[in-house]
Structures are given as structure tokens and as C-alpha cells.
Symmetry: D2
Subunit: 103 residues, 4 copies
């Protein structure tokens, strides 16, 4: 089962500068061979369900290993059986329907 996901990993108990932990987490996701794109409130990830959630586990363990005693993580997860769709397809299908679409 192929999934498109959005992960937002928030280490707790490490103050307010979270980016070193998040960068290490995204490194783990990418090391698992997943396509990753970081935006202003998370990282989009695409891949097989098992690969994605094994990679997330490694990312969480890494964040704990770096010193975070607690993590809260928000995930959006999409699956579909009707057709294949890439992350880029999803963005384009919205942007080309916008009022000011240039295409």
C-alpha cells in the first residue's frame, strides 16, 4: 500500500529551538529512501506504508537519542486504490484550478 503522508515532529522538554531535532528526523526519513519535502509546518513523505512507518520510528528514536524526553507528532496520511498519484500531482491538481492559475 502506497501512502502520501505529512509528518510534523515536535520534541518536548528541549526548549523552543526545535530545528536541530527536526533536521535529524528528516535526515532519517530520507536515509530510508523516502521522497521528502519540508514545508513551514511539516515534511511531506511518499512511499510504501511499511517503509514510511519504519522510517518514522527511526526518526522518533533519533530525536529521543538527541535528548528529547518526550515527542508529540502530527501525521496526515492518504491512501487510494482508485489510481496512482504522486505528491507533485496533488499540488498541481490544486494549483492549476486556482482562479489566477497561469496554466
Amino acid at each position: 500500500m502506497k501512502v502520501i503522508a505529512d509528518f510534523c515532529i515536535v520534541p518536548l522538554g528541549v526548549g523552543t529551538s526545535l530545528s536541530p531535532y527536526i533536521a535529524a528526523a528528516v535526515d532519517e526519513l530520507e536515509a530510508a529512501g523516502l521522497e521528502c519535502t519540508t514545508h513551514a509546518y511539516g515534511t511531506n513523505v511518499s512511499g510504501e506504508y511499511d517503509t514510511v512507518f519504519q522510517a518514522l520510528k527511526k526518526a522518533l528514536l533519533k530525536v529521543h537519542e538527541l535528548g528529547a524526553p518526550r515527542i508529540t507528532c502530527t501525521i496526515k496520511l492518504g491512501t487510494r486504490t482508485d489510481r496512482e498519484q504522486s505528491m507533485q500531482d496533488k499540488i498541481e491538481s490544486v494549483t492549476k484550478k486556482r482562479r489566477n492559475a497561469t496554466r
Copy 2:
């Protein structure tokens, strides 16, 4: 790694009556031996990371099998290495600090 999670599974392309699909999904989660509590916008789940996400996979496959061609799922996931905490502990630690707490 023990996790406390919140799953909100939303089948798409099946109209607006989603509860038969959600009930079947929660049945799958509980069949995996997970402690489950359904609230008005999702289901709280507690267990080992691998058990939880293998159960979620089965739940999603079940929802597709029942006829949903597409699913979007929102997940909140908490892990901590500093101490053990149950779902009931989390609720009580908030409610007993409420202004009108009766305990």
C-alpha cells in the same frame, strides 16, 4: 517504544455516512489487542509502536475493502522516555488541575 496515539480515519468517495467504515476500522484496532477509546473526533489508542501501526494498516485495508477508494487519516502520536504514562493518566493529570476540579 510505547506510544499513545489518536487516529481519525476518514473514508472518501462513499458519501457522508462514514460511521460503518469507522466502526470496522476500530474493530480492527481492537482485534490487534490495543486499548481503544472512541471520542467525537477520533479514537485514542495505546500500545507498542509496531503493533499500533500494523493494526492501523489492517484498519485502512479493511476500509478500502469495504468500498472506500480513498482515505485520509489524521494521527496524533506521543512517545516519552522519561516515564510511563497511560491514556487515563493523561486525562486525569489535566482534569484534576481544572478550575472546577472536584478531586
Copy 3:
């Protein structure tokens, strides 16, 4: 526009004991006259859109006032124009379709 929502307010930069902040936030939501139910990963809220989001604003300001320099909040929000539905209706429509439903 009536909404059913789920709020998960996470103060950052205050260590790992978050419940005093969350209790104060839920107090604010309830002070606005909203029906609130706290579960293991958030609080369900029901009311008019404007009332709900003005109450959330007060809750966030309260958490900052109590000392949190940063907050991340995850919200699920449902609206429907086809029929009225309470939070209790949503829970019951799932639970009565469960495999082991006793009703």
C-alpha cells in the same frame, strides 16, 4: 455555522509537564460556554464557529500568559450543512455499529 472540533494545545519551552497549561486552556474554552470533553490526546468542543475560535484565541493567550513562549496546536474541525449532529451522536453512530456493539 456550527462546528465540532478537536483541540490539542501543546505549550513549548516549559519542560515536559504540560497539564497545568492544558487545564487552564480548557477552563478558558469552557468559560466561553462551549461544551468540552477532554480525552487522552485533546479536547472535543462544540459550538458556533466564531465562538469556538474566539475561545481558542483566549485559551492560547492564557497559555502564553502562564509562561509558554511558544505553542503548537493541532485542530480537527468538522462542519456539515446536511443535518445537525451532536458530539454524542457522532460517538454513538460509531459505537452502535461495532462488531461487539451491545445495542
Copy 4:
């Protein structure tokens, strides 16, 4: 209160092709003068709390007006009182700490 948010608006009861509804919703957010960036699982938005949630209300009403009888929406919301931070700042603070950062 300035916020950075992530909105994922999911119309229900309209089949599986959601992008026309989402495009119209993002048009509404942008018409309110908000900075918007669409990614593969939502749209990042930045602005004053009241402006952001009034714009979201208009976006939801628009999606209902276009024919969706039900909507579920997932929101991530960040506020901070310690310092100003733009959406671009957030992305850069992560990407420049990545293992393979080129800057």
C-alpha cells in the same frame, strides 16, 4: 497575535476529486490577503489570528456553497511570543541543519 498555520480542507460527499474545492478554498484564503503556500497535504498560511480564522470561515462556506454537504479540516497552528518568525525562516532553520545541507 501572529500565527503560522497549516490547513488541510477535505470536502466529503463529493466523490474523490477534491481539488476543485480545495483550489476555491485557497483562493478565498489568498483573497483575505494571507500569504499561502500549497504543499502535497495542505496549505501553509501566515497572518494575524483573526484574519486567518475569518478567512478559513469564508473558505469553508465557499466549499459548502460549491456543493459539499460536509467538510473535515485538519489545522496545525503555531504562535510564539519570544520572537518573530516567517514561514520561510522555519523552512530554512531546518534545511540548513540537514546532514547534506548545501549552505
